[in-house]
Structure formats: structure tokens, C-alpha cells
Amino acid sequence: MGELLATQQAKIETHPCYSKQAHQYARIHLPVAPACNIQCNYCNRKFDCSNESRPGVVSKLMSPAEAVARYQKVKMRIPETRVVGIAGPGDPLANPKSTIATLKAVAALKHELHLCVSTNGLNLLDHVDDLKAVGVDHLTITINCIDADIGSKIYPWVYFNHKRLRGRVAAQTLIDRQLAGLKAAADLGMLVKINTVLIPGINDHHVAAVAQEVKRLGAMLHNVMPLIAEAEHGTYFGLMGQRSPTESEIAAAREAAGQSMEQMSHCQQCRADAVGKLGQDCHADLDDDGSSACGTSALPAAERYIAVASQSGVLIDQHFGHATHFQVYQLTQAGIVRQPDRDVDQYCLGSTECDDESLNQQQRMSTLISSLEGCDQVLCSRIGMGPWQSLEQHGVTPSTDYAMQAIDEVLAIEWQRFCENSTQGTVSSEIGEVC
């Protein structure tokens, strides 16, 4: 720590995943890598990926050309976009052709950009030269352990050298390849960040050893992130009741790992198709009671709740029927406060079911409406007539007026409107933006 070259320091300071201070720069993840070559017990390939709105998975496969087009569209709307990453939804290097093709095409635009890749490391050694040649300077490898006995509790199988390996052999193969890949990447001058998923009872006593070893091999930064395991995600850990770490366990693990590796703690665990600035929705600033650290302390006399269907997390770009969760914002005189997302069951399950007014459909609508309870307005890119009417009957006003517009801009407009309609006193204008 501390012996970074000036050029490396500059690369860190402008990358939101590496530096907490870089949050004014935005990033886009391009989901061009659906295939994976290992299975992790905290991942369910059926639901826990950006291809999750199904059926129609196939049509959502993004080609390198489409990915570049998406980047250019986002860059126009969010000029601060400085980071283009490929992180999945599978493993980028299990899809080397489309990953490299996408990176090459983005690099050819000659924008001022960081290209980065996040990998499980199994195929890193084979492609590290290609990555370097195309200009990838930020690389993240997920290394959860350096001990095959621990690894066999995390990885049920690994596909390597045309075989599905299992048990200790699988874990050892993965670990060996990860560490060799890490060393090769660091030797080529890449900034290598290591992600470690903290799994209580499995690798929590082991993170210091991981940190020590990855430091020795040239990693720059360590991100110990908490396991996310819920039964409804259908993961092995979720279904088997493996618990997530507590805040104090995370802190203890970071401290232990921090003995040898610089730790980062602002990771938002983005999805493979994330877009925009890290934490721009400022939910990290929320107190437990949902009040905002950035608003005034005056108690609001009136409030309004807006639900937003967004796939990118930045634009209002999702069909109501395709949403699996809604972002919810509370508007008060004091400003706009992000509320916890509402998870819902997707309303539209495909063209075959969409047309009929089946009992199932009605049931889904009524559970959806109860999931959106308390919301006054729903903003989405499109919505069918049936759901529109049901929502109105339940006092929720749907709107597609803001389709494809940026969420924060739209909220600012709605907030202005809310304040004008309210009879409460004056409001300072500098909090028109989302926090």
C-alpha cells in the first residue's frame, strides 16, 4: 500500500468501483457474456442474472454491436460515463469472443474511458494478453478462498479443459488458475481488484489468508462483500439457510484482510447490466426511519410516493409488465428520498399468457397492486390497458409520459410540481435534484 505509481493513482481516482471519491464518474456494464464456466453456491443462473425476465431470454442476448450502440446511447444521455465494464451475466472470459469484440469496438471510439472486466479467473491466463492489448486496465477477479477444501463448499462444479470437474479437484483447478491469472495480469501492469464474498462459517476465518496471498501476487485492492442469500433467489446457499454476515462480521473480516490489502467498502454489488453513477440514488444516506441526511430536518406535512419501473436503474426504461422490482421515492417538502425497492412478481410472463384474462393474470395483478401499496403514481416506459385500469381503480396513477427519460430529472420535475401544488411554506430550491 502506498507505493502506487502516479499513473496508477490517476487510474484509480477516476474509477467509481476503485475510488469512493470517483462517484461523479458514471459506469455502464454491457451484458454481452451470458455463459459461465463455473457454478457458485451463491448464484442461481436461472433467476439471479440480468437475463432474468423470461420467457424471451434468447431475444435479450446482446451482441457486441448492440452493446456498443447501448453504450453510445447512454454516453449521450450521461456524458460522465467514463467506465465501460463487462461483468457477465455469466463470466466475460467464458465468452471471450464477444467480450473482446465489444471491448475492441468501444476502444475504437477513442473516448476517454476505462475498460474493465470482472471475471471468476478460470480462463484469465488464456486471455490476459488479449485484454491488455485491447486496453483493459482495470480487472476484477472474484477469489473467495485459496484453500480447495473451502472452495469445494462454494463451487459445486467447474468446467475446465472440456470436463466438468467436481469437489476438491474443481476448487483446486479454479484457485490455481485464478492465482496464476492474477499474477500474469499484475505483471502486465493491470490494476487488479479482488472481490471476496464473505460467507459466515465457510470463508470468514480465511479472508486474511486470501488477502495476504493476493497481495503477494500483485493485487491492488480488496473488496470483501457480504453474501446475499435469500431462499427466493433459489441459490444453494439461499435454500439451505446459509445466513449472510452481520455488519460486525463484515467489519471484522475487512479489518483482518486490511492487514495486508487496502480494503474498499463502498461497493454497491451492481448487476451485470448496471448503468449510471454509483450510489446516485443516495440510499446510503438514508437513516433507518427513511429520512434523508441531505434534506432539511423539518417534518413534512404531506408526502407523495412514486414507483418507477427501470431496468437500467437510471432511465424510466421498463415495461410495467416486465418489472420485477420498482424503485420507490418519497416526495416531501424537504426533498426526494429513495425508499427501499419493492420486489414484485413479474406481471407479464410472455405473449402466450398475456392475451388471455386468465385467473392467474388477475391474481398476479392483485398481488402486484398490494406490493405497490401506498404508491400514488407508477412511472414506466409502457403499460397495457388492463393493468392501467386496475391501477387506477386502486388509486394509483400510471404514467408513460416520461418513457426513456432519466429518473432523477423526472423526479425533479415531479417534485417541483408537488411543491407548487402544496400549500406549505417556501422551499429552498437547491434540493431539486435527487439528494
Binding site: 451470458p34 455463459a35 459461465c36 464456466n37 457454478q39 453456491n41 443462473r45 436461472k46 437475463n51 423470461r54 420467457p55 431470454v57 434468447v58 431475444s59 442476448l61 455469466g90 467464458a94 465468452n95 469472443k97 459445486p156 462444479w157 468446467y159 472440456h162 470436463k163 466438468r164 431462499a231 427466493e232 433459489g234 444453494y236 435454500l239 439451505m240 412478481d345 392467474n360 391474481q363 398476479r364 398481488t367
Partner: protein, 93 residues
């Protein structure tokens, strides 16, 4: 002699990338295996490649309809757990 892809396929594209016979195609609705191209990897590899990388149990079956990755073989989850998870999902729909 050819394998087939069932409706439980999630369309992750992994099999298509590793098939030595280029036998896997993407249709408008789902992935499928061209029977005249698939030779079950005989002469290429010891194990059929699609079935060796496929992350979903029962997504690839042989000519008799038998799953190459039967339930429980990939996730290690005991069957009753999966039944519970599935019924929970259905109950919420």
C-alpha cells in the same frame, strides 16, 4: 444419435460456445440441437460438451429423453428443498 435441449434451458449460450460440431442453434424462442450435426461428441471429447457446461439440470436429454444432468446432479440441492422453493414461487404468482 443426437441430444436435445428441453424447455428448462435458460438460454445462457454456454453450450453453443463449446460444441465442437457447431450443432447448436438459436431459434426465436429457444435453443436447439441440429440432429444431423450432433454426434454426442464422439471422437472429439470423452464427455459431451454441452452437457458438461450446461448449468441447468434436465436441460439436455438424450435420444431416449433421459436427462444427462439429472435433478440434484448440479446444484447438490436435495430434492425436497427444490420442491419447497418451486411451490413458494408458484404460490406467489
Amino acid at each position: 444419435m443426437a441430444f436435445e435441449i428441453t424447455a428448462s434451458c435458460i438460454g445462457c449460450n454456454a453450450c453453443k460456445l463449446v460444441c465442437p460440431q457447431k450443432a447448436i442453434t438459436v431459434g426465436p424462442k429457444q435453443y436447439s440441437i441440429l440432429p444431423h450435426r450432433c454426434n454426442e461428441c464422439v471422437g472429439h471429447h470423452a464427455d459431451p460438451q454441452c452437457a458438461s457446461i450446461c448449468p441447468v439440470e434436465t436441460a439436455i436429454v438424450n435420444a431416449e429423453g433421459r436427462a444427462l444432468n439429472p435433478p440434484g446432479s448440479l446444484t447438490g440441492l436435495p430434492d425436497e428443498r427444490k420442491v419447497v422453493a418451486l411451490s413458494k414461487r408458484r404460490a406467489r404468482l
